[in-house]
């Protein structure tokens, strides 16, 4: 059974390339109307044209050039969306940057802070902006893109790692706050993708990102990496009613058997599986480590 998003209205950030574009494509295919946003208006127009061919009547694709870290720009986006569609069912916070690469004492601090502003504050501004509408509708789906540093330390890419761990904690905290309004909030770990960000790592070189990370990037570039469609399929699932009441989770597009999760809602709800937690000694059989 393919998952449907008929009649749903979705906002997707960072929609003009990479995973954001693939999510947009799958959302349209599943029947949603979408508002694509990104900073670059030209790329957005190209993406819109690409997705609009053969679009059934009743479905629409809007583009709104947006800087997610600017609250006025975000407010304008929401205003445009509501004028056009009158509702917002789904928000996909996909926009993100790697930020500066290199050891903390060498990176440009303004760029470091900028990565936090876009990846963290940008996503949170978007959530704040859609919440009044979603609360009033008493339904909504917020999907947050996580990434490498959310689940592990990421030397030489510290701004990215920090912003992604922070936004995952934000997402599961928000999930608790909006549970009573029928709004589900989840984060996606899309896997190692061959996108523009991988190219940035390779361009930065081993001196900046460290030999280990650089070698892994080269290997991934050659092997093709995880397909964009895993992450995009998971996004469609989380945007749909098929995933209702799955909330507060960090879900791997590559490693998790999420297709079967709807059969285990109660177990998922009462377990801390698929969340960011502190691993205790007993979780790893280190019995001397805990009190």
């Amino acid at each position: 059974m393919s998952i449907q998003l008929n009649g749903k209205v979705a906002i997707i950030t960072g929609a003009n390339q990479g995973l954001g574009l693939e999510i947009s494509r799958k959302f349209v295919k599943a029947g949603a109307s979408i508002v694509m946003c990104a900073r670059n208006a030209d790329l957005l127009a190209v993406a819109q044209k690409d997705l609009a061919s053969g679009l059934p009547s009743g479905q629409a694709i809007e583009i709104v050039p947006t800087n997610v870290s600017d609250s006025e720009s975000v407010e304008q986006l929401i205003k445009t969306t509501l004028q056009q569609f009158g509702r917002i069912d789904i928000l996909v916070n996909n926009a993100g940057i790697y930020g500066p690469m290199g050891p903390i004492e060498e990176v440009d601090w303004t760029e470091w802070i900028r990565a936090i502003e876009i990846n963290l504050f940008g996503s949170i501004l978007m959530c704040r902006a859609v919440l009044p509408t979603m609360k009033a509708q008493r339904q909504g789906k917020i999907i947050q893109l996580s990434g490498g540093g959310a689940t592990n330390p990421m030397p030489n890419v510290s701004a990215y790692a920090v912003s992604k761990a922070a936004i995952v904690r934000f997402a599961d905290t928000l999930a608790e706050e909006v549970r009573e309004f029928g709004i589900d909030v989840n984060a996606i770990a899309p896997g190692a993708l061959n996108t523009r960000m991988l190219d940035e790592v390779i361009t930065a070189g081993p001196e900046k990102v460290g030999q280990t990370f650089f070698d892994r990037a080269i290997k991934q570039k050659e092997s093709g990496g995880a397909g964009l469609d895993h992450g995009a399929d998971l996004a469609v699932f989380l945007a749909s009613e098929a995933s209702n009441r799955i909330t507060g989770k960090l879900i791997s597009a590559v490693w998790d058997n999420w297709e079967d999760w709807p059969e285990h809602i109660e177990e998922l709800r009462t377990s801390d599986a698929y969340t960011l937690r502190r691993i205790a000694g007993r979780d790893r059989g280190l019995l001397w480590g805990d009190k």
């Binding site: 609250s71 004492e105 990176v107 601090w109 470091w112 802070i113 936090i116 963290l120 504050f121 949170i124 959530c127 704040r128 919440l131 009044p132 609360k135 540093g149 959310a150 689940t151 592990n152 330390p153 990421m154 030397p155 510290s158 790692a161 920090v162 912003s163 992604k164 761990a165 922070a166 936004i167 904690r169 934000f170 599961d172 905290t173 928000l174 706050e177 960090l250 590559v254 490693w255 998790d256 058997n257 999760w261 285990h264 377990s271 801390d272 599986a273 698929y274 969340t275 960011l276 937690r277 502190r278 691993i279 000694g281 979780d283 790893r284 280190l286 001397w288 480590g289 805990d290 009190k291």
Partner: protein, 286 residues
């Protein structure tokens, strides 16, 4: 005579920071104490018994102001020959209540004070520690670092970010003999906790409110035991322990030095994603 030791403590004018100051001073360390209030810092200095071979300095600075970070680092570098320990203790609770009722400026200030300020300080202090042969960086984590915390989203977000920052920095600085760890202190009867009661049940949520009231009434995990963990992490006693988030209440850290290899090769005591098989949910993973 023992070698001289130097440390810098932020948020040193009250609560845990004040306890750390007293503890390190009594063990012979020279101190730089940072906080917003000059009078409160002076009061802390007054409680320290004068000793000829130890020094204490104060720096009055509000970590909500990003321009102050550089001044703190420069002043520290001018005052001491090196820094054995940087203790990022300062923190604010930030707005209490659901996200949509939080003031956005307050929300951002919380990230500044609890995450960007300590990260910025680490960035400026790390090269100094590297040059002078190493050191130990200790950051205070808190409720929300290890799990969601409804009605305290700014605080939880900042603390999770700070833990991941510390883990990442630990890897970067390992070759330079600089260790980086976080402490989860447990529920303390501090000003921050009293604030939860003041803000009230409606804003904090009834679970948080009840816990706060109970802790303030019945007393709590002792600040002294947190100071002992902090001192352990600041000294050679904890050599090779780095990149960990350590609970003052739940972890048997006193015995960790006997298990260094296992600790180094395990993701125990770090922030990671729990997978299905960690919890016996065999249907959940691929």
């Amino acid at each position: 005579m023992a070698e001289k030791r130097y440390c810098l403590i932020t948020g040193a004018s009250r609560g845990l920071g004040q306890v750390f100051a007293k503890c390190f001073w009594d063990l012979g360390w020279s101190l730089i104490l940072v906080a917003r209030g000059q009078q409160a810092l002076n009061d802390v200095v007054m409680t320290l018994q004068q000793r000829a071979d130890q020094r204490v300095h104060i720096i009055v600075a509000d970590l909500a102001d990003p321009t102050k970070i550089e001044r703190i680092a420069k002043t520290a570098i001018s005052l001491f020959p090196r820094l054995d320990a940087l203790i990022n203790n300062a923190g604010i609770q930030g707005p209490v209540g659901p996200l949509w009722e939080n003031d956005w400026d307050e929300w951002q200030d919380t990230i500044q004070v609890n995450l960007l300020a300590p990260a910025g300080l680490c960035r400026l202090i790390a090269p100094w520690m590297i040059e002078t042969g190493g050191g130990s960086i200790i950051s205070l984590s808190g409720g929300g670092a290890t799990g969601p915390r409804a009605n305290f989203s700014a605080y939880a977000t900042a603390k999770a970010g700070l833990v991941r920052f510390s883990e990442t920095l630990a890897v970067e600085l390992k070759p330079h003999n600089v260790r980086v760890n976080c402490i989860a202190p447990g529920a303390m009867g501090t000003a921050m906790l009293a604030e939860v009661v003041t803000k009230g049940e409606a804003a904090a949520g009834n679970k948080e409110y009840e816990i706060a009231v109970r802790i303030l009434r019945e007393g709590v995990a002792s600040m002294q035991s947190v100071a002992e963990l902090c001192y352990f992490l600041a000294t050679n006693a904890s050599n090779n322990i780095t990149g960990k988030l350590i609970s003052a209440v739940w972890d048997n850290w006193e015995h960790w030095p006997e298990h260094i290899d296992e600790l180094q090769n395990s993701d125990a005591y770090t922030l990671r994603r729990i997978v299905g098989r960690d919890r016996g949910l065999l249907w959940g993973d691929k």
